[in-house]
Amino acid sequence: MMMNQNQQGSTQNIASSVDPNSVENRYVVDASQSQASSYFPSTTGSGAVSWATHGVNNQSTENGNLSNASYHHEQHTESHVNSLQDGLNATSLTSSSNLGTANVAQDYSGYTSYPNSSDPYAYGSTAYPGYYSSYQQQPNHSYPQPVGAYQNSGAPYQPISSFQNSGSYVGPASYSATYYNPGDYQTAGGYPSSGYSHQTTSWNEGNYTNYTSHQYSNYTSDTSGAYSSGTAPATSLQYQQQYKQWADYYSQTEVSCAPGTENLSVASTSNQVLQPPGVTAGYPTAHSQPAPIYHQSWQQDSSSSHVSSLQPAATSNGSHDSYWKHGTPSFQNRQVSPVQPHYSKPLEQKTSYNNFQDQHKAACPQGPSSQYAIGQQMAPSYQSPPVQTSPQLDNRRVSKLQIPTNPRIASNLALGLPKTDKDSSTATAAAKPAYIGVSLAKSNEKVVSHADSRVEPGTFPKSLCGYVERALARCKGDAEIAASQAVMGERWNLVKAVIIKKANSDGTLFSRDWDVEPLFPKPTTEAVTKDLPTSTPLSALSKNKRSPSRRTKSRWEPLPEEKPIDKLASSTNEIVKFSGWIHANEKDRKHISGSVSKEDRLNNIKFHLSEQKSASKSFQRPVKRQRLSADGFKTEDNGDASSDSDKEQSLTSYYSGAIALANSPEERMRRENRSKRFDRGQGNRSETNRFKAKNAGTGNLYVRRASALLISKSFDDGGSRAVEDIDWDALTVKGTCQEIEKRYLRLTSAPDPSTVRPEEVLEKALQMVQNSQKNYLYKCDQLKSIRQDLTVQRIRNQLTAKVYETHARLAIENGDLPEYNQCQSQLKILYAEGIEGCCMEFSAYHLLCVILHSNNKRELLSLMSRLSDKAKQDKAVKHALAVRAAVSSGNYIMFFRLYKTAPNLNTCLMDLYVEKMRFKAVSCMSRSYRPTVPVSYVAQVLGFTGVSPTNEECEERDSDGLEECVEWLKAHGASLVTDANGEVQLDAKASSSTLFMPEPEDAVSHGDANLAVNDFLARASSQPS
C-alpha cells in the first residue's frame, strides 16, 4: 500500500511539475501510469500476444512516454495482490495477480485488435499524435469524436504515448487515464493506496454525475447516493456498483473489440437503462446533468460549439489514419441511421430488463445473458438498417449516450474534475464510452451510433430528460410504487426541466451549474437516499448474487421507495452481469481480437454466446471478490487511519485512486478541501451538505452506516482493527415510524428506519401497553417490539430502563421467568451504566431469582458481595435477603411470613417456590411432630390461610384455605385423620413415609411449563389486566 501511495504521489508530483498549469499534462501522466500498468500486465498476461502484434509501435511510443511505467507497474501489481479477490480476476481469467493485469491486458488487446481490424497499423503512434494534435487544434470536435474515436483508438493504450506526445491533449489523456483506472480499479479491487484517496473523492463525485448523467438511472442513484454522501462507507457498496459499472465499461470496451457484437451489447445495456424509463416524460435530473456536462466538456476542452464538434471529428479523422477517417465518416453518417436499430432493440431488451427487475429475481446472470444475446442479434440488425427516424435517434442517443457520455465525461474529467466533482465523474464515464467508440471505429456502423451520441449536446439533455421521465413513468406504472415516488418523479421533472434550460442557455457553465445548482441536488439527494439504502444492504450483505433486487425487499428501505430502487438496482445488476459476461468474452477476445476483423464479428458473437454461462458465473464471483478486496483494502487503510473520518477518506481515496485521475494543483486543493470536510466528520461533500438541509441528513446517516459496516467488515477480515473503533453511531438507525402499535418480529436483516419508531413514539407505545387491558401475550409482544426499536436505535436511557422494568414486572406477574431473565440481564447492564431506574427493586428480584430458581451458590455469593450498604438497607433487598436466609435454613415459618409481607412483586417470584417450600415443610413436620398436627395449623403456617392471597387463590377465606390445604396434603400423599373433635389432623408418622411430590399436571417434555402454550394462554388470558 505504501508503495502504491508513494508511487501515486510521485506520479502526481511529476504531473504537477510537468505542467502545473495545464491539467491535461497531468492527465497525460496519469494516463501513462494507468497505461503502463496495463501494459505490464498485458505483457505478462495472455494479452501480451495481441499486444505484441500491434505492439511495436505502441511499445516504442509507450516507452518513450512511459518512463513511469515501471513504477506504475508496481502499483498495479500491488493492487492486484490486494485485489486478488477482485471479481474481474475471478471472472475467468487468470491467476489472481495476473487477473488484474489480465483484465487490463484484455482491454488492451481489444484495443490493439481494434487498430488491426479497422486500420491495423495505420493508426500507429504517428497517426495518433497527428490526431491528437488535430484534437487540440479543434478541441471541441475532437472531443466528441474522441469519445468515439478514443474508444476506437482505444486504443487508449496507444493513445497513451500519443497523449504524452500531444501533451496538451487534455481530453485524450484523461480518457486513457480514466479508462485505465477503471481497469485498475476492477483488477485492483483494492487500490487501497492512500494516494488514491484524493482522487477518489473527486472520482466519487464524478461517478455520481456520471451515473446520473448516464442512462443508468440505477447507477446514478446508487452511485450518487454513495458518492454524494461522499463517505467512504457508501463507497464500499457503491464501490461494487462502480465496479460493476466499470465492468460495464469493460464490457463496452470489449464490445468495441468485437465491433458488431460488442457494440450491440453496449447498446443493450444502455438501452436497458433507457427503456426502463419507458415513458418519455422528463427523466430525472440525472440525465439532464449528463447533457450539461457534455456541453461543458466540449466547450471547455474545445472552444468550438457542440454542433461543430461533429465536424471536427471528421477533420480529425482525416488527419488520422484511414482508420480514424473511417470511423469519423461512418460516424457522422451513421449517427442518424444506426440509431433506429439500436433503439428498437434496446427497447426490447429493456423491457426484458424491466420484467427482470420487476421480478426481482436473482436471475441476473440469466437476464444479462439473454439480453446479451439480444444485443448481439441487434448488432447485426443494427448495422444493416442504418436509416432511422429522429425520435429513434433520440432514443438511440440515449443508449449511445451512455457510452458517449462516458467518453465525454472522461474528457470532462480531465478538465472538469478540477472544476467539479461531477465532471470528474462524467470523465470516468467517458472513459467507458471511449472504449465503445473504439469498437465503433472498427465497425463503421458502430461508429454511427456513437456519432449519435455526439450529435448535439442540446439534444442529449432532452433525450436524457425523456429517459428520466420514462423511468419515472415506469415507476408510476408499477402498482407497488407509492405516491411518494410519484411526488419524487414530479420533482425530478421539475429539476430536469430547469437543468435542461440551463444547459441550453449556458452550455459551458453546466459543470459549475451542476455543483451550484440547488435543484439538481434535490433530486440527486432523493436518489441518493433511495439508493443508499440499497447500496448499504449490498455492502452489508456482500453477497454479489443477491444483488440489489433482493435487497430491495429488505427492511432497510421503506416499502414505497423500495420498488423504484429495486428496479434500478436490478438494472444495474443486469448491466453488471452483462459486463462480467463481456469480460469473459474479452478474455477470449484477447486472443481472437488480434485476428478479428469485421467478418469475425459474427464469430465473436457466437463465442460470446457460448461463453455466456461461464461469464455469468464468473460475474457473480467477481463481485464478491471485489468486496473482499475492498474490505481488505479498507482494513489496510484503516490501519493507518485513526478516526472514522480518516477511514472514509481512505475509502474515497481508494476510489479516486482507482480512477487515477490526473491531479492538477487546483484539483488537489479541492480534494484536500473535500477531505478536510471529511475530517470534520460529516463525510459529506458540498453537494451532500446541500442535500442535507433538504434531506435532513438521512442520506448522510446511511452513508455513515455503510462505512461503519464496511469498517466492521474489514475488521472481521483483517482483524487489524479493534472492535471498539467501529463507529457504532454510524450503524444506528433513526426511526421514522409513527405507529404506536407494532408487532414484534425478530429481525433477520438490517432494520428499516421506516418501521422503527423514534423515542417519542416509543414512549407513547409504552404507555399504551401499560394501560392496555389486553392479555400478557399481547403486551409481551408489544414490549418486545419496543425493546427491539430501542436496541436498534441504541437508545439507552431512562426510557429504556422503564421499558425493561415494565416488561420484567409483567413477566414476573405472569411467571414468565425466561422473559424476566432477559430483561433482568439488560437491566443489570443499564443500571451499571448509571441509568436511573428501580434499581433496588430489581436487585431484590435478581436475588430472589438466584435464590429460589437457580440455586447457584457462587452466583448468589457474588451477587451478595456486590450489594452496597445502601442496597442492604432497602426494604425489598432486605426482604430478599431474609427470604434467602429462610430458604437456606429451611425456615418455612419465616418464608411464609415473608411471603405474606413481600414488597413489590417479590410475592410473585416467591410464588414459584411455594410448592417446594410447602413440601419441604410438610416433610419436616411429619418427621418432627408426633403424633399429629392439626391441618388448620399447617394451613396457617404454610400460607393456605391468612391475609395474603396468591395468584391461584385470590381472597379466599380460611375455610376455603383449609379445604385447599387438605386437598394439597392429600395430593402429596399425606395421611389425614379426623380426631374426636372432628378436626382434621395430619398423621405425622404415617405421612413421613408416604409423602411424595406429585408430578405436575402441566408437565411438559421440555421441562418448562411456561412454554406450554395452552396453559400459558389460559393463564395469561385469565389475568385481569
Binding site: 451458590k857 455469593l861 458481595s865 435454613s889 415459618i893 419436616c924 403456617v941
Partner: protein
C-alpha cells in the same frame, strides 16, 4: 537507562541467542528457564530489552545465523515481547509472548524427552502472570480484559500436549494448577471440571506420581471447589491433604511461603471442619491470625446465636468474597443445637426426671435473653428443623408445645459427618 552502544547491544543480543541455542542443544533446563523468566526481572533480561531497543535489527540477526534461525519462531516474538514488556506495554507483550510460547510448544512436542518441562512451567507461569497484568492494563484503559481468558485457552492447549503418555505427563498437573488459578480468578470455575476429570479418571495419570508441590496445589483448589458444592467430607479430605503435605519444616527456607499457604488452606478448612462438627483449638486461630473465625467458634461452643450473627455480620464481606459465607451461615443450626443442649443440661440439673421434656416457652425465653426476637411458631419451626436434620433426637408435640427428647443421646454429635440436608 544509560546509553548503550550499538556494539554492546549487539553483543548482548548475540550472547542471549547463544545461550538460548546452547541451552537447547545441551538440554540445560536451568539456564533455559532463566532466559524465559520475564517476571524474575533479572538484570540480564532487562539489559537485553534495552539492547533490543538500541539494536533494532535483531530479527535479521536471528534469521541470518544458522545457529539462531532454528529458534527464530521462538526468539523473534520473544524479543518483541521483551521490548514491550520493558516499555510497559503489557498487552502487546502478552500477545508476542503467546506467539513465542506457541512456537516453543511446537518444539517441545518434538523433543523426545521431557527435559524442558521446567522451561515449559516457566512459560505457563509467565503467560498467566503476563495475562493478568495485561488485563489490568486493559481494564485501566476501559477496555474489556480478555487476555487471561486467552491465556486459559492457551494453557489448555499446553495441557493437551502434556496429557499424552510418556514422561511429559507429569507436567500435566502443573498446567492444571495454572488453569485453576486462571479459572478461579476469572470466576469460570465450571471450566475446572473437564481438567479435573481428565486428571482423576484418566488411567495415564497416577496421582502419586506427580510432584508434591503440584499435588498440594491441586488438592487445595479442588477442595475449594468442594466447599462451593457444600460437599464437606470431600472438601475436608482434599484440604487436609493439602495441609498435611505442605510441611513447613521440610524446607526451612520457604517457611514463610508455607505459612502463607497454610493460612490459605485453613481459611477453607476451618469452615469445613466446623460444618462437620470439629472445632479448632484457639492457638491455631491465633497462630495463623484467623481471628475472623474465633467468634464463630466461640458461638458454637456456647450456643450463642447472637455472637454467631454478629460475627457473620462483622466479616460478611470477607466471607462472601472467599465464598464461605453460606457455609458459616449454616452453622446456625449447630448453635441452636448447642443452645438446646445447654437448656437440657440445666433442666437435667434441676429435675432429671423431666429433663427430656423441653417446653417451647423455655426456649423462647432463652432466645429472648440472647436478644433473638422469635415467637413460638418460629421456634417451633426451628425445633422441627433440628429434629428433621437429626441434630435433636425426639419429637415435638404440637398440642402441648413440648419438645420430647430422646432419653438416649438427645443431641448427637456430628463427628465428622455433615448435617443432614
Amino acid at each position: 537507562m544509560a546509553y548503550m552502544s550499538m556494539g554492546e547491544a549487539h553483543r548482548r543480543i548475540t550472547d542471549y541467542l547463544n545461550r538460548f541455542s546452547d541451552a537447547v542443544s545441551s538440554q540445560d533446563v536451568a539456564s533455559l528457564k532463566q532466559l524465559l523468566s520475564f517476571s524474575s526481572n533479572s538484570p540480564s533480561l532487562l539489559s537485553l530489552a534495552d539492547s533490543l531497543n538500541v539494536f533494532q535489527d535483531a530479527n535479521r540477526l536471528i534469521k541470518q545465523s544458522d545457529n539462531y534461525s532454528p529458534f527464530a519462531d521462538i526468539t523473534v516474538p520473544l524479543f518483541r515481547s521483551l521490548q514491550h514488556y520493558r516499555t510497559g506495554n503489557l498487552v502487546d507483550a502478552y500477545l508476542a509472548f503467546e506467539k513465542s510460547a506457541n512456537a516453543f510448544i511446537q518444539e517441545f512436542r518434538n523433543w523426545e524427552s521431557a527435559w524442558a518441562l521446567e522451561a515449559l512451567y516457566v512459560i505457563a507461569y509467565e503467560i498467566r502472570v503476563l495475562a493478568e497484568r495485561a488485563d489490568r492494563e486493559l481494564a485501566s484503559n476501559g477496555k474489556s480484559p480478555e487476555k487471561l481468558k486467552a491465556a486459559g485457552s492457551f494453557l489448555m492447549k499446553v495441557f493437551g500436549v502434556l496429557a499424552g503418555k510418556g514422561s511429559k505427563r507429569v507436567g500435566a498437573l502443573y498446567l492444571t494448577c495454572q488453569l485453576f488459578k486462571i479459572y478461579f480468578k476469572l470466576g469460570t470455575v465450571h471450566l475446572c471440571r473437564s481438567v479435573i476429570r481428565s486428571i482423576e479418571t484418566a488411567r495415564i495419570f497416577d496421582f502419586e506420581e506427580f510432584p508434591k508441590r503440584d499435588k498440594v496445589t491441586y488438592m487445595y483448589y479442588t477442595g475449594r471447589l468442594e466447599v462451593f458444592n457444600e460437599n464437606f467430607p470431600a472438601a475436608d479430605q482434599k484440604l487436609s491433604y493439602a495441609l498435611i503435605n505442605c510441611n513447613p519444616r521440610s524446607e526451612a527456607n520457604i517457611r514463610s511461603v508455607s505459612a502463607v499457604l497454610i493460612v490459605m488452606i485453613l481459611k477453607y478448612l476451618i469452615p469445613v471442619k466446623l460444618s462437620i462438627g470439629i472445632l479448632p483449638k484457639d492457638w491455631l486461630l491465633e497462630k495463623y491470625n484467623l481471628v475472623e473465625y474465633s467468634n464463630i467458634v466461640q458461638a458454637l461452643r456456647r450456643g450463642d446465636l447472637r455472637l454467631l450473627r454478629h460475627a457473620l455480620e462483622e466479616h460478611e464481606d470477607q466471607f462472601l468474597r472467599s465464598g464461605v459465607y453460606l457455609v458459616l451461615e449454616k452453622l446456625e443450626l449447630q448453635v441452636y443445637q448447642r443452645l438446646f443442649k445447654k437448656i437440657y443440661i440445666i433442666q437435667k440439673q434441676k429435675d432429671p426426671s423431666k429433663a427430656h421434656q423441653m417446653k417451647l416457652d423455655v426456649i423462647v425465653k432463652a432466645l429472648k435473653w440472647l436478644e433473638m426476637d422469635m415467637d413460638v411458631d418460629e421456634v417451633e419451626c426451628i425445633v422441627a428443623i433440628l429434629i428433621h436434620k437429626n441434630l435433636v433426637k425426639g419429637y415435638f408435640a404440637h398440642k402441648s408445645k413440648v419438645v420430647v427428647l430422646s432419653k438416649q443421646d438427645p443431641f448427637p454429635k456430628l463427628n465428622g459427618k455433615p448435617v443432614n440436608s
